[in-house]
Amino acid sequence: MRELLGDIDRWKSQGKRVALARVVDTEGSGPRETGAAMAVNEDGDVIGSVSGGCVESAVVGEALAILNGEQSARVVTFGYSDNEAFAVGLTCGGTIHLFIQPLEW
């Protein structure tokens, strides 16, 4: 989170809407620790990371859907143990749970 603050401040000062994705839980081996975060602005610009690059592009899609109002803030799971998440897996075989929400607080 610390490393995201500068860019988030800049985006906010430009009036851009921002979504925040944070790792809230991991199972098995995950590349990033709980609390790892990335932020996406309404233009699709990205900072930070929540995995070793395995799921970031899918997270951008989820984040933009949330900013557009097509989805509400929610927990999204990536990993092989989740039946709905087969499309985007982690190469390490672990599972990560992300909470993605608009940064409106």
């Binding site: 989170m1 610390r2 603050l5 988030i8 401040d9 944070r22 809230v24 839980d25 098995g28 081996s29 995950g30 709980t34 609390g35 509400s72 803030a73 929610r74 927990v75 909470f99 929400q101 608009p102 940064l103 409106e104 607080w105």
Partner: protein, 266 residues
Amino acid sequence: MTVYTTLATRIRANQPVALATVIDGPHVGLTLLMSPEGILGGTLGDAELDRVVARDAVGELEAGRTGIRHYGPQGESTPEDLVDTPTVRVFVESFSPPPRMWIFGAVDFTAALAKVAKVLGYHVTVCDAREVFATRRRFPMADDVIVSWPTPLFEKEGQVLGPRDAVCILTHDPKFDVPAIQGALRTPVGYIGVMGSRKTHAKRLERLTEVGITDPSDLARLLSPIGLDLGARTPEETAIAICAEIIARRTGRLATSLSATNGPIH
């Protein structure tokens, strides 16, 4: 001030702060911000839930833990209260100030160690009594460069050191080593590494005995020769060996190659 601005201000100022976010339940996305002293702003949608989460978050913050906690809609937290109630899942994220590393001795190994420690996120203090050596120009990567004998530094600031922090004594000089070790042993610092060969350490133990440090539990806290057995030679390799030992001590691992073991890798 919004919750975000207060959070950003405290993180930048290295002040401890915990952010709680409802990730599942009636008010998904609401946030509550807490310092060790109490609530700073925001709400999770119920005053009683706020109170209970704030109480728990202060403990999480002290331990530097981040994770999900489960409550009832009004903060119910005992297992019997949670039967048949919808659960609120709250993600509590602790932002603790960076751990500290104090390095005694302004030598070549110090610069390399300070660099690696910065990569790992430490707030690095370099301390040496010799003004010529303890300069910011020689250690631009350190957060603080202090010209001092160890004893006054420990007396003034030793109380900030805790189990997440490290003291590395690289001086090789008993005049400096002994008071640095004495100072470090009076704190609950998690790692005390002291540079020197086995022979140097044996002599050092004699000097420590002379100043009354004989308690086996004290002596067991001193890691010397310093670092993991990586066969390190250069200051940079030695810095990696020291930092690897700090990590292995924290996690309680034996530090062998993962390819030679079968257990979980984290």
